[in-house]
Amino acid sequence: MTTGKSVSALAFAGALALVLAGCGDKPMIYKQGQYQGKPDSKPWDNEQFKGSQVEWEKAIKTRTQGQDEYSRAVASAK
């Protein structure tokens, strides 16, 4: 009787583990470097910036700061 109970308990535990295994889901994490297309050039690799990343970043920073009218107003007041 005891053996029968333990066998059924074992079977139940096994079945439960099997059922719960279906609830598991491996997270899909994107791995960098999977891109299959053509390579792209850097925005500073042209005649205007002559490959200078520093010059390009300076130009972008100036443009970005131009969106701040508080600093623009202070600059124009001086």
Partner: protein
């Protein structure tokens, strides 16, 4: 290294659709494709809020994760771009994107879905910079000209900011600190702050 992002200030956006028009005009985007659009919540109700939405150039972009042909790539400036020559127009990216950024041209005799089109942060695509092929497929490459996206630069109230995330976050923070906050207040005072000095009155004018 810059990490390019957009930031829209809902307190300032006046739903003028200038950003949408600027984008359409700059890239000659075909009819039916809207790389950028303005979304308004509680339209017509006092206190309504509008924001300009396009590709947010996610740091962990779901479109990149689901693309079966791996046509997406992220530039060193953090701009999410794709190769249209590889795109098969399956639409997975459209379902994955929480902003509805990927667009599909609907023209053609049988309602073809076509290759996906989306905001490029005005950075073109993998074709040679500022070439005719790049313009035809992806639009103008303003970033290679040292300029920011046309939508952000065109925004009349400067609600839409574009550029290096750290810089635009600083601009926005400074703006919020200057103007204060308050859920009951909306309009000009909230967006631009109150003048430090009252407007000058002409002599003899009644106050």
């Amino acid at each position: 290294m810059a990490r390019m992002k957009f930031l829209c200030d809902a307190e300032r956006c006046i739903e003028c659709n200038g950003c949408v028009t600027a984008c359409k005009n700059e890239h000659e985007v075909p009819w039916g494709v809207n790389r950028r659009r303005v979304v308004t919540l509680n339209d017509g109700v006092p206190g309504e809020k509008s924001i300009s939405v396009a590709c947010m150039h996610c740091s962990d972009a779901p479109c990149m994760a689901v693309c079966p042909v791996d046509c997406f790539y992220k530039t060193s400036e953090g701009v999410v771009l794709h190769d249209k020559d590889l795109c098969i127009g399956c639409g997975y990216c459209f379902y994955a994107c929480p902003f509805g950024a990927p667009q599909f041209p609907q023209d053609g005799a049988f309602g073809l879905r076509g290759k996906m089109d989306k905001c490029t942060f005005c950075a073109g695509g993998p074709e040679p910079d500022n070439s005719a092929a790049e313009f035809k497929k992806y639009g103008r490459n303003r970033l290679a000209e040292g300029k920011l996206p046309a939508c952000a630069e065109m925004c009349s109230t400067k609600a839409l900011l574009g550029g290096d995330a750290d810089v635009i976050a600083d601009i926005y923070r400074n703006r919020v600190l200057k103007r204060g906050k308050g859920s009951e207040i909306w309009g000009w005072g909230t967006a631009y702050g109150k003048p430090e000095k009252p407007a000058a009155q002409p002599p003899g004018a009644k106050s």
